[in-house]
């Protein structure tokens, strides 16, 4: 079972076995070293001058035959790369040979560069997974310890029964909230996502978040804008005149889109790259700022101070679109509300005031959550940005008030945010900082392209808010070519309405949601040693759960518990079902999870086409169809098109599409319920009487959603964005969305115009989706007041100072998370093993040489891997591009063996206008950038090389 199928014909008359034979190496080396060529001539060709004419060209057919095929199918990849690239897969003799970008996205207009060809080197060798040795071909049930890799082959019937029995046991003996479901990023394949989310929904199971857990959510966006994430499509980069790559290494991690930035440069944009390491994006920048890790907010806030001091901010925009003119009470740092001045109602509590120059008094501003005027139009109001005044409260008490702008100015007046102060703190030269702020002040439109490089810090909310402030002060948000555009993960699904109706048919109120950061932290023996205002994070988590701000499943009696019991709760999760994700490999605090959570769970199921780390550590692995064997649809924030997955070939081996897997599981659960004669039960918490004896009928909507194509068509036909489209109609070429649902979006789709968010606010003057109805930089929730974070501010990383080096695990060019990390075509173009990058100075300091084995460790665990010395790496940190599978090449541990979960209390709040828990919108992020480690040369034993592969090759 372990052996790959060697009989695959590669379509060039060569079998895979023959291919491997050559790769063995020994014979090849011998032949290479000999040089015994002699000029044997079989026949006379003295008359031929091959520079002019060549008589024997019939052989050229050889390569023409290689460029031929029987069939072409259109598909894509479901890997959360944010690419959403349409590919064509070429088939010959019943075998998928290769793929090539479809390269047929229609242009937006003649001036903008088009999106073709869209796709990267990884997409160009996905076929390797279809036939590769990692492929899961049959249902497998664990025969050894978890993670041992000993399996017995099972029938579908047996494997499904194994899973169904245990899920039903949990529901009836322990409660439906002990079954946990984890799958990520619906946009990359919503049909596959919904297959299991519907199951979770109908079983009353807990559905876990992903976007916050992976720290891809920029919390500053929900805080400031009241949205999950909104970014312009990448073609809009071309419209910019100043592009700042900030924590985003586009040449490596946005490969299909990077050209828009470099082409924008030829179109007159300047590009600045802010990054601790000199990387593939810095290479093409007009300015490279090698910033000290974790100091980005200083640079952003210094820019804000410069803009304000020089008076080059966009005052009319700031007055209309932001909360900077709002009044704040000096006595309690709370906004001045209408309820302070008159009767207290829900509406007056959410109505805010400015100082109006025309009436010389406080005036309520329209557009807030409490205002009846749902507009940003100021009318006759003339908000004042600076000043201090006294107003009389309802009880007659006078109170001093000032504006958010005034408070901001004051906060920015400390030396840290001067040009020289920022240069010092950020490790930059003053001249570079001056150029940077000057460009922001003078070039329009200007945008920040933001990524995980900065977003993965503990203080990501502050970093986001500081950067958004720069582009808001300059009036760049809501304009083509401008804004703060964050691209980390394909979290946003365009046809949202149809997707939601398919995913959770009875609606969000009938679903148990869970922020995965909290779930993982609380259900494993992991302890963040930091104290926040003197208290451990457990204190804040429990407070948040008790307040009903954040959910934590399974349910427990929170009032009776104390913070010390949070990691050993009376009711614990019992089952975890994972599909379309690699939960374990990508989980922060890997060692602690394996020691605790993984031991507590009594059922772990993974649905997968390849044996990844989570599959390897599961009890049951169900073989899924690969991306070229399924029907689904695909979209991304990065562009405004939708295109399909297709069954280029029917599911290979014994695999099934996710839709068919969950359909079969629903039928199996029904059987178990009927066999055991189990009665419907009342799920009181959700007010839902659950009759699982008709689970399949409910899951398939009485047979209306029998097939994955039915499901795809359901999404398309229930969404404004895809009105008039069918699954089949996507086969010709990617289709641009035709409209946006105004409930879900903040701009229209317009023919001939690149999508950029927030034109509804900036052009149509609709309020922002925040408490104040404005871009909200001031947050007066009591916890924000306590932590000193009412306004964006720089805070030092929440690190572990006993270790010397940051452990930097960014996205890289050679994988999408863990996918492709184990792909030999790509490993051959790296060094073949997990690799840590270290600066020249640190290599010297820690006594390691290039290509040495090293041990990297801290209090959490250790990883033994190879090291590479890179002059462009900054001293003081080690970089390992993330995603390496735990089973590949590490002599000990893995890249997540060194990390642990650090929850930031400001991200636990709720009940504050726009800030209340919403899956993947608002919840604590699983940051990991603040981790520190040390490194030493490793001289211990190294696992034997792949002799089996060599033998196989020589067979």
């Amino acid at each position: 079972m372990s052996k790959g199928d060697d009989k695959r014909n590669d379509g060039q008359g060569l079998t895979r076995r023959q291919l491997l034979q050559v790769a063995g190496g020994a014979g090849l080396a011998a032949l290479f070293s000999s040089d015994k060529a002699s000029a044997l001539q079989e026949f006379e060709i003295a008359d031929v001058d091959p520079l002019k004419r060549y008589p024997y060209r019939g052989w050229e057919e050889l390569y023409r035959r290689q460029f031929s095929w029987d069939k072409v199918g259109r598909s894509t990849h479901s890997v959360n790369c944010t690419g959403s690239c349409s590919w064509k897969v070429y088939v010959k003799n019943g075998v998928m040979l290769r793929e090539e970008q479809a390269a047929d996205y229609p242009p937006i207009n003649a001036e903008l560069p088009d999106y073709n060809p869209r796709g990267c080197q990884k997409g160009a060798c996905y076929v390797e997974y279809v036939y590769g040795a990692q492929r899961v071909k049959y249902p497998l049930i664990r025969a050894g310890e978890r993670g041992e890799g000993r399996w017995r082959k099972a029938s579908w019937d047996e494997a499904l029964a194994y899973v169904a029995e245990r899920l039903v046991d949990n529901i009836y003996k322990h409660g439906p909230d002990t079954n946990t479901f984890f799958s990520v990023i619906p946009a990359m394949s919503p049909v596959s996502f919904c297959s299991g989310s519907r199951m979770a929904h109908l079983l009353g199971g807990v559905f876990c978040s992903f976007y916050d857990w992976y720290c891809d959510l920029p919390p500053g966006q929900p805080i400031t804008w009241g949205v999950q994430t909104e970014a312009c499509e990448c073609a809009d980069w071309f419209n910019s005149k100043f592009i700042v790559l900030w924590g985003s290494n586009i040449s490596e991690t946005r490969i299909p889109d990077a050209h828009f930035a470099w082409e924008a440069r030829y179109h007159g944009a300047r590009v600045a790259c802010v990054s601790p390491d000199y990387n593939a994006s810095a290479v093409h920048a007009d300015q490279y700022l090698p910033i000290k890790p974790g100091t980005d907010a200083v640079l952003a806030l210094a820019t804000c101070r410069y803009l304000i001091e020089q008076g080059v901010y966009d005052a009319p925009y700031v007055k209309e679109q932001t909360d900077l003119p709002l009044l704040v009470r000096e006595d309690n740092q709370r906004f001045l509300r209408m309820s302070d001045l008159g009767p207290k109602t829900k509406l007056t509590e959410a109505t805010f005031l400015c100082w109006d120059a025309s009436t010389e008094g406080p005036k309520p501003l329209p557009g807030s959550q409490g205002s009846v005027d749902k507009t940003l139009k100021l009318g006759s109001i003339e908000p004042v940005l600076t000043g201090r005044w006294t107003v009389r409260l309802a009880d007659g008490k006078p109170v001093r008030v000032t504006t958010v702008f005034e408070r901001l100015k004051k906060q920015l007046s400390v030396p840290l945010y001067s040009i020289s102060g920022a240069a010092r703190r950020c490790g930059l030269s003053e001249a570079d900082v001056k150029q940077f702020v000057h460009d922001f002040a003078t070039r329009k439109p200007a945008m920040i392209i933001h990524g995980a490089g900065t977003n993965h810090w503990y203080h990501n909310d502050l970093l986001n808010r500081a950067m958004i402030l720069v582009v808001a002060l300059t009036g760049n948000v809501g304009k083509n070519g401008g804004g703060f555009n964050h691209y980390v993960g394909q979290e946003r699904i365009w046809p949202e309405h149809g997707f939601k109706a398919l995913a959770f048919p009875r609606g969000g109120k009938k679903q148990r949601w869970q922020n995965t950061t909290m779930w993982t932290y609380c259900h494993s023996q992991m302890q963040d040693p930091h104290r926040i205002n003197g208290k451990p994070i457990e204190h804040y988590i429990l407070e948040s759960v008790r307040q009903g701000w954040m959910p934590l499943w399974p349910e427990n009696n929170w009032q009776a518990l104390n913070a010390g019991q949070l990691h050993n709760l009376p009711r614990k999760p019992r089952a975890l079902i994972v599909w379309r994700a690699n939960y374990l490999n990508q989980a922060k605090g890997n060692e602690a999870i394996l020691r605790s959570l993984w031991k507590q769970l009594d059922l772990i199921v993974d649905i997968n086409y390849r044996m990844d780390t989570t599959a390897l550590y599961s009890d049951v692995v169900l073989p899924a169809a690969s991306y070229y064997e399924k029907t689904d649809i695909n979209s991304t924030d990065c562009h405004s098109y939708i295109h399909p997955f297709s069954k280029v070939l029917d599911p290979l081996y014994e695999s099934k599409t996710d839709w068919d897997v969950f359909g079969a599981l629903a039928q199996k659960i029904e059987q178990v319920i009927k066999k055991r004669k189990l009665q419907p039960f009342e799920d009181k918490k959700l007010g839902w009487k659950r009759d699982l004896s008709r689970l399949y009928a409910d899951w398939s909507d009485d047979g209306k959603l029998k097939t994955d194509e039915d499901a795809a068509n359901f999404i398309l036909s229930h969404s404004a964005e895809t009105k008039g489209m069918t699954y089949q109609s996507l086969q010709d070429h990617p289709r641009r969305f035709v409209a946006t649902d105004p409930k879900a979006w903040n701009s229209d789709i317009e023919v001939g115009r690149a999508y950029t968010p927030f034109t509804h606010q900036v052009e149509k003057k609709r309020p922002w989706r925040t408490l104040t109805g404005r871009q909200q930089f001031y947050v007066d929730h009591p916890w924000y007041v306590d932590f000193g974070e009412t306004l964006p501010v720089h805070k030092d990383p929440q690190d572990d100072p006993q270790y010397p080096l940051y452990w930097n695990t960014p996205h890289g060019r050679w994988s999408i998370h863990s996918t492709w990390r184990d792909n030999r075509y790509l490993l051959r173009l790296q060094r073949g093993l997990p690799l840590a990058y270290i600066s020249t100075a640190d290599a010297k300091k820690y006594g390691v040489a290039d290509n040495d084995w090293v041990k990297i460790h801290n209090g959490q665990g250790a990883a033994v891997c190879k090291v590479k010395i890179r002059p462009g790496e900054q001293p003081g940190r080690i970089t390992m591009y993330h995603g390496w599978e735990k089973f590949l090449g590490f002599q000990k541990g893995g890249w997540q063996s060194l990390t642990y979960i650090k929850i930031k209390p400001t991200q636990l709040i709720g009940g504050y206008g726009h800030l209340s828990f919403r899956l993947n919108y608002w919840g604590p992020t699983g940051n990991n950038r603040d981790v520190k480690v040390t490194i030493e040369k490793y001289t211990g034993p190294v696992a034997a090389l792949a002799s089996s592969a060599k033998k196989k090759a020589l067979k």
């Binding site: 023959q18 291919l19 082409e263 290479v283 007009d286 300015q287 060019r813 090449g889 034997a944």
Partner: protein
């Protein structure tokens, strides 16, 4: 001399270093027996050792008198073995041993990726994608004792006849770019074919068609409407690699210029370049700094708000700008032989 000459221009200021070209080529042409280690298209970090290791310091090409100067034959270690892995034993076989490669790499086609120059204050590197240069005076052709290498009269593409080649490897020694590879199974030399089967069907070379950086321009050099003519002949912003080797390469590069050094945000490439001039001159010859200065001037103008004709071309908005393929010429000549 061929009647026409296909050429390719690669704009190194757009290269992402992503190797999609490499994989496109690999999956299209070199996925067969004896080919795993060979990359007709590769991307290397410069300065760096290249692939095969130090090929650019080995020799090859012609001396000033026009005589071949063959180099040694690079040993396999200088290419690196194509790694194979034992996935099965760990994932399905119950072995506790991690998945490992069959050999610990100490060199490979991209071994020194992103290392570049060792100036830690102002690090520098850039990416150099390479294919066969389909030279006007191909040293490989001249070196082949069997005359199994020829230059197509209609389009200038240089090919190794896969029926007549006997694997003597004189071509490998003669090529200054080391862009011919020995297939030990077939006992033949093999090389980039400039994707003639694709071009004949009106589709750009795999490495160009699949390049997400959109940095490759393809056309006939003497076709005045083609982007390669405009960039090489008209605007003179693209240069051949190692021109002093005398082979007349037909792949041209728009040379790279990197951001100014830290603390000198307004410095021009002439004043104090991050990338040492000698690195560029060694690769692209003495004219390179003229080209870089001219491009920098164009860029500054564009950033001040004027439109630049050459940069507008390099934007390459869509396929019709980047490619001017002539399947008509190719088919006519091929059938007329």
């Amino acid at each position: 001399m061929s009647k026409h000459q296909y050429a390719m221009v690669m704009d190194l200021n757009k290269c992402l270093g992503c190797h999609t070209c490499t994989l496109a080529c690999k999956k299209q042409w070199t996925d067969g027996d004896g080919m795993a280690y060979m990359y007709w298209n590769n991307v290397e970090t410069r300065p760096g050792q290249g692939y095969p290791r130090n090929f650019d310091r080995m020799g090859g090409g012609f001396d000033v008198r026009g005589n071949l100067r063959p180099s040694k034959l690079p040993p396999l270690e200088d290419y690196g073995e194509a790694l194979e892995y034992d996935y099965g034993q760990r994932l399905f076989g119950g072995s506790k041993k991690p998945v490992m490669p069959h050999v610990l790499a100490d060199y490979g086609p991209n071994f020194d990726e992103d290392m570049g120059g060792d100036d830690t204050r102002n690090p520098y590197h850039f990416y150099l994608p390479r294919i066969c240069n389909h030279c006007t005076h191909p040293a490989c052709l001249e070196a082949c004792p069997r005359k199994a290498i020829y230059k197509r009269a209609e389009d200038g593409i240089v090919l190794v006849d896969q029926e007549r080649c006997r694997g003597y490897r004189h071509c490998i020694r003669a090529c200054p770019y080391k862009k011919l590879y020995f297939n030990v199974v077939e006992s033949m030399s093999q090389k980039c074919i400039f994707c003639y089967p694709r071009l004949e069907k009106g589709r750009p070379n795999a490495c160009a068609a699949q390049c997400p950086g959109r940095l490759r321009f393809v056309g006939i050099l003497d076709d005045q409407e083609s982007p390669v003519h405009k960039l090489v002949v008209q605007h003179k912003v693209a240069l051949g690699l190692l021109p002093q080797r005398g082979t007349g390469p037909n792949v041209y590069y728009v040379p790279p210029f990197l951001p100014p050094k830290a603390g000198h945000p307004r410095a021009t490439v002439s004043q104090d370049p991050r990338l040492p001039v000698k690195v560029l001159e060694r690769l692209f010859g003495p004219r390179v700094m003229d080209v870089v200065r001219s491009l920098e001037g164009e860029l500054r103008r564009a950033q001040r708000g004027s439109r630049s004709e050459v940069l507008d071309l390099l934007i390459g908005r869509n396929d019709s700008v980047r490619y001017a393929l002539r399947p008509d010429i190719m088919k006519r000549s091929a059938s007329g032989k």
